[in-house]
Amino acid sequence: MHNDPLNRQPLRPRLIIGLTLLLFIPCLRSHADGMALIPETAWIQPGTTFTVGVQISTQPGWHTYWLNPGDSGMAPALHWTLPDGIRMGALHFPTPHYMEADGLVTYGYENEVTLLADFHADSTLQGTGVVLRLNAQWMVCLDMCMFRKQSVELSIPVKPTKPPRRLVTTNRFDAARAALPVPMPGWTAQAQAVGSEWLLHITPPPGHPFNPESGIQFFAMKRGAVNPTPAGTWNRQEAQWTLRLPKGPEPPAAPETLDGILVFPSNRTDPPHATAILIRATILPPG
């Protein structure tokens, strides 16, 4: 067929069609450079907890920020307006990426992230549906930053039965959950301020193949408590590993604990397979 000269179209119209199709490529990205609310379930059931995905997308290559943005940037600010009978639960941020430019460190997400917002529907919830309203502000940055503001709403039906997950978004929610930092049963953590540094002492559970030389990093949960830094220096004393981190200009959020996540390199093979674990280090008296 292709060799049939009669079937050959002139080059120019084909070129125009091709170029026009190229122009449509940006349209193929759903919600490019914006924010969207995605319900996990087909409806909500009174007396249960449910999850809504807050999907933030950027132009290719741009990034948004974790709850601690690092040296610059801003965590997304979400202001919800909820109907009677719906209460806000936890907001979960997937493990962010470490980004470095001109010696400044930031934590965030390239291209797209889905934050998981939990809500509780009271058992007394009336009616056949509810509307959740979100006013969101966030920064998108590449070599410059832009401030984004958007208001969206989400209508979800209310039914008395257990809701199924929406098939179209199952993968998205599974991926977002798999990327959340996980709690650390069996691990102990302590932090001590010594001069201009934090000494973060970590003891993994017995038998855990913890190997910080493979590039395990600590990201503090609050901006200002620890200066964001490239991989710090780990030292081992028997079962306890110590990471030295530069102290930031502000105290930790709570006086008793230094909170953050230990982030494992994505190419590691040792268990557990979490991308990061939550660390709540008890603060010891200054050394």
Partner: protein, 205 residues
Amino acid sequence: MLKDIRIIACIAALAIVTAQAQAQETTAVVGKPAPEFTATDSAGKTRTLAEFKGKLVVLEWVNYDCPFVKKHYGADAMQALQRKYTEQGVVWLSINSSASGKQGNYPAEKWAELVAERKAAPTAVLLDTDGKVGRLYGAKTTPHMFIVNAEGTLIYAGAIDNNPSPDPATLKDAVNYVAKALDAALAGKPVETATSASYGCSVKY
């Protein structure tokens, strides 16, 4: 001969280590002498920190195209601080460390117009295109604020206020750390919040 080379190598190594240590010590630390610097202002004049000895000096890292900076200039908030405190004898230096070709970098002759457009009132705008002063002070963001007292000691380093957002609506209820520190210093009192985590766009080194 071999011994001589070893000794020379040792001395060279020691010199490098000492130089490194000194280089690290020159970064800005609150409570310590503010690092001296020399920079050219937008009028082409050479300015030094030393020339302002005896006065309170504010160093404001600025990039007029950064959304966080726009919050403070769009609402006439930064300019109001500049006017209020320069009238009381405070020296206010706006420093732009954007590298050539990066966001916020403008030719020297454009700055008078940019400042006039905003009705800004800094004592001078310093053009730190090579980022030397910015690196010396560890300026991370725009804005990033530093205050040097009359004795040349750094008395504040950090954010302009306690609300890390580019939304102008957040200005009303924010605690302005710089105003508080300047008021304290002018009244001869210690600065209550002397360090904070600066927020904003990254400095475009």
